[in-house]
Symmetry: C2
């Protein structure tokens, strides 16, 4: 944009561990400008959060003094200012009011809190996904929903009438990387390409996990054994590894809700295809919501609640 563009109302920021995204939003709710960079929390904790934000605001010639609403890891203990957690069960509508204001600056800059499940047997936390949920809730009806947000740490949320009843984080993406790189399975998949969601080995691995999740770490070893004695190709080996971990996650999530609970998939980018295929292999037909849109809608809902915008 240039200074002559009309009516900017606020700035929305999704500040993750390794990524930074900023939108300048107009008074009609439209996106006037957008910035993306790799200056996530890890980088900004070294270079300074205030400076990173200021540089991006300057790059789009944002008017001084606009309110800024931030979600994500900028509110972690290692972030800019700690924004704490709302405890579950938590109404999504209660999230904006719990935002923490950055002290010592003129502009009204706030960071949304995460959610915490303080359950001795299953403690859990999220930070950033609560804002996607807030945005996705507008597209979901009332009633019960099971919401899947895939990622390095996939979140599955039990939503009931706009309240987060509970949630579980599955280490799927991080385990995939750790196992693919640091175990004997690395030999079997070394020459594989990207996992294709329409791979039969992938779907079969998902299905077996939904049927008998207890065999997860045995099915992982079968990637190695299949490569040794059954001619399993590198592509199929990688698909079996991915399908095992995603299928185990789906089995776990389904174990927490009543059969027939509608499933929503909030996803963007490369994880969409494999998760859609995996859910289909598990017999589920999810309602799909774009994650990028959801986080922007969540920040917009927050801005409306905080500043009557």
């Amino acid at each position: 944009m240039t200074r002559s563009d009309p009516h900017p109302a606020y700035v929305a920021v999704d500040w993750g561990t390794s990524s930074f995204r900023l939108w300048l939003i107009g008074q009609d709710g439209g996106v006037l400008a957008e910035r993306r960079s790799a200056e996530g929390m890890t980088v900004a904790a070294r270079t300074g959060f205030a400076g990173v934000l200021a540089s991006h605001l300057a790059a789009i010639s944002a008017p001084a003094g606009l309110p800024v609403l931030i979600c994500g890891m900028a509110g972690a203990k290692q972030g800019w200012v700690e924004a704490g957690y709302l405890d579950t069960p938590a109404a999504l509508a209660a999230i904006p009011a719990a935002a923490v204001r950055i002290p010592g600056v003129d502009a009204d800059i706030r960071i949304l809190p995460g959610l915490a499940q303080r359950d001795a047997a299953a403690p859990d936390v999220m930070r950033g996904e609560e804002t996607q949920l807030l945005g996705a809730a507008g597209e979901l009806g009332s009633g019960d929903h099971l919401v899947c947000m895939p990622g390095t740490h996939s979140k599955w949320v039990r939503l009931s009438g706009g309240r987060v009843e509970g949630f579980s984080t599955f280490m799927t993406g991080e385990l995939f990387d750790a196992i693919a790189k640091n175990t004997i399975l690395s030999h079997a998949i070394a020459e594989a390409g990207a996992v294709q969601g329409d791979n039969a080995a992938f779907r079969a691995a998902v299905k077996r996990m939904v049927d008998n999740p207890a065999l997860a770490t045995s099915q992982l070893f079968s990637v190695r054994a299949g490569s040794l004695i059954a001619g399993l190709s590198p592509d199929d080996a990688k698909a079996r590894l991915s399908g095992t971990l995603i299928g185990l996650e789906i089995a776990g999530a389904l174990s927490m809700v009543a059969e027939g609970t509608p499933v929503a998939l909030v996803v963007s980018g490369g994880l969409g295809a494999p998760y859609r295929q995996a859910l289909a292999a598990a017999g589920l037909s999810p309602f799909v919501i774009d994650a990028d849109t959801a986080v922007r809608n969540g920040l917009a809902a927050g801005a409306r609640a905080l500043w009557s915008l």
Copy 2:
């Protein structure tokens, strides 16, 4: 021993990936001398298998020309001479006759084969554990048994009247290392000591996996979340990681046999205490067999069958 010691009959060798163990056995079945070193397959593949064996035989002044029976990774494709696999279902008594003789040497040196399960959905292999089984079978009655052999790659074997009906490998030990070192859980357990089998967090993690194995990768994340918001100590965090993986393994093994099948635990060293505690937490009372003794007894059974010793 010295050259004046009486009546050596044969040499038994357990040649693993990272360890080498050799016993000189007398005509009465007693151990006359023993050697242990770190010259496993990985080292010997570089320095030469024949040389490693010869150096240890020389160190105990073994008479020239004694027959040598070897089990383990020396028979792998990357080993000394490939000893192939017997396919399941396989009678344990058929293992010795399938040993492969080292060509081009005067002495009768043979390597026992592994076992292969050529099942498209659950291909699996073992190499070395079949010899432990052969040795353990003498201590087990006839009938059905579920045999647990813990390790980097834990093996659970369905044994029926001396036949291996099928088996499953669980990547428990290797996953523990990969997850402890290469994921976000490393922070939670960085300052932990060795896992104690009598740790309540360990037993609770095992029990939860036996009750709902589908939540495995979520329970792994709870190690991180518990450390963040519930004051989980490093020792308890490490115990929960270990208990989750061992409990998942037990749940998977139990899913493959009829309820009430007697369980045997073949184990030596540091894994004995945690596996005994884990099996107890799962409500099982295993018959315990020493793994070192079992492999030596298995090699002895092989030597008797091959050379009428």
